[in-house]
Symmetry: C2
Subunit: 327 residues, 2 copies
């Protein structure tokens, strides 16, 4: 049974920065509470006793208009005095914690220690920031991305931040994903079989979208849902705008294209939104019967975000869900 | 058995801000590692998951020259951006945490969670700050000052910061003091029976010096030690320069004078250093056979701190330990 009005819901799956930009665009168009964002928590970690959820924070900051557009992560007008003092006392400083950003980590940690679930703290903070969209951690249960590399298995943040994604990747593991359930607040969404659109944001396929799909309830729901699932490629000219997605693709033997992604995802999605720079990849996918929208996917301004969001939603209305559920 | 050279040691008992000023003066004179400071931890508390030790931090900041002299607590050149962001997310903001100060709390909490003792973390940070004096928490075991008031029993910080010391005090309790042992690093000091000087800093008798004396090993050591114990009155013109000492004295039926303090402390100390404004109180104490030094005790500048420290040390050299140990 769907909740009343639930058929108007737009569902987005997102990782951090790149995904958060499209989510912000969607929120410019869908200004009520019918936008639900399922956010990766695989790169959550404990640091200096603080519970840090980088992707949730990126989405929250983007939707609150508090994100730093130039730096690409963290909060706008951030300052770093805490980090200076942290270095003075001899604490590790490889993970940057801005003075403003830190409030999020300290308060989240305190609320979790009080017994609140991650989804509850997230909803509380989103409400404080005046965010109407529903931001849902993929699970309240801990899922931790482990990166298998030629240098051994690394915690995600160790690989990503400390070692600047330099080790050669051989695979991934999402510890805890088998036992991870979606948060209680996702129930009405999971009961819904035909939302108006399902969008996979331009996020890293392995470490942003991968962990969400590793939570059985979400991959089951994607298979079950009767709406077309539209994925936006994170590649532009076969390069990732930010982060190690391209490097990971190559190291694992995939080409960093939407065709490569289609292989990685095993045709889990119905259609692709592809940058003009990769129009040829779109032709190849279309030849296989996979609908593609070729458009500008680089989001430099909030206007770019809204334009892409509108293009994706329009495209979604034209695509028919198909092969995915035949498999 | 005393350690070699241990007889040159100067021992100071201190609470936060007022005491820390005299400690800083002593450290100007005693520039090697023969100054040991026993610091109150009764007002330590957990806030937002952080382990906060206000008095230790006051002493550390004062000895590192990082204290804010004008504000009277916390770090110099402090900023408050974290607090602004904390208010935004809806967290409690009654306890002020500066961006720089916060590094101390976060790192201490992380080290304690790693299994380090409070005395170890304190020593590590003091070393990072180039502090030669030995800063010893009165105990690594938690002792928590509870304030009995006509409004019920309150945690110290709740009484002191949240309620601005307004409730009427009826008594104090130092939870955990019966089981609290001095830190291992205090062993050589506790084995020493005749340090060159023992100084009780101008700190609140009830909530700064009181908790230290509630740790049996320290009050036993004070009784046992053959050096004179010199206490510096925190009152000037029968008023406390800062904090609720005077109010507490009145509410508990004592007059806020060195005579009143002598009653509160039960003659635990041999001699008093008293401000010129309270010269009459000195006369009364001298009449009872208690030696007094009347001098300027207000420390506005670092020069004032050094002057008072020198006066106290000189006075200490002239006083003979006496009645205290007869009792």
């Amino acid at each position: 049974m769907s909740a009343p009005g639930a058929a108007t819901r737009v569902v987005a799956f997102s990782g951090g920065v790149g995904g958060a930009k499209l989510v912000a665009g969607l929120a410019q168009i869908i200004t009520d509470d019918s936008l639900a964002v399922i956010v990766n928590t695989g790169d959550d970690f404990q640091h200096l006793g603080l519970s840090i959820s980088p992707d949730i924070d990126s989405v929250v900051y983007a939707l609150a208009g508090k994100n730093d557009v130039a730096r690409g992560w963290g909060r706008r007008d951030e300052s770093w005095r805490f980090m200076q003092a942290l270095a003075e006392v001899g604490a590790p400083t490889w993970f940057q914690l801005g003075d403003l950003d830190l409030a999020m980590h300290v308060w989240r940690t305190a609320r979790l220690n009080q017994g609140a679930a991650l989804s509850e703290v997230t909803a509380e903070i989103a409400a404080r920031f005046g965010i109407r969209a529903q931001i849902l951690p993929m699970s309240d249960d801990p899922v931790r991305t482990q990166v298998h590399t030629t240098q051994g298995t690394l915690e995600f943040q160790e690989y990503f931040v400390k070692l600047r994604s330099e080790p050669r990747v051989t695979g991934f593991e999402f510890s805890g994903s088998a036992a991870a359930a979606p948060p209680p607040a996702a129930r009405s969404l999971l009961d819904e079989s035909a939302p108006s659109a399902v969008i996979v944001c331009p996020s890293n396929p392995f470490v942003s979208i991968g962990p969400i799909l590793a939570v059985t309830a979400w991959s089951d729901w994607l298979r079950r849902c009767r709406s077309p699932v539209i994925a936006v490629s994170p590649f532009v000219g076969r390069q990732a705008l930010k982060g190690p997605a391209e490097k990971m693709m190559r190291e694992l033997g995939y080409e960093p294209s939407s065709m490569g992604l289609q292989t990685v995802y095993g045709r889990a999605f119905d259609a692709w939104v592809i940058d003009r720079a990769d129009a040829k990849d779109a032709d190849a996918l279309e030849a296989l019967g996979v609908p593609c929208l070729v458009t500008d996917t680089v989001m430099r301004t909030t206007d770019d975000q809204t334009k892409l969001a509108r293009a994706v939603l329009d495209f979604s209305a034209r695509v028919v869900a198909s092969a995915r559920r035949a498999g």
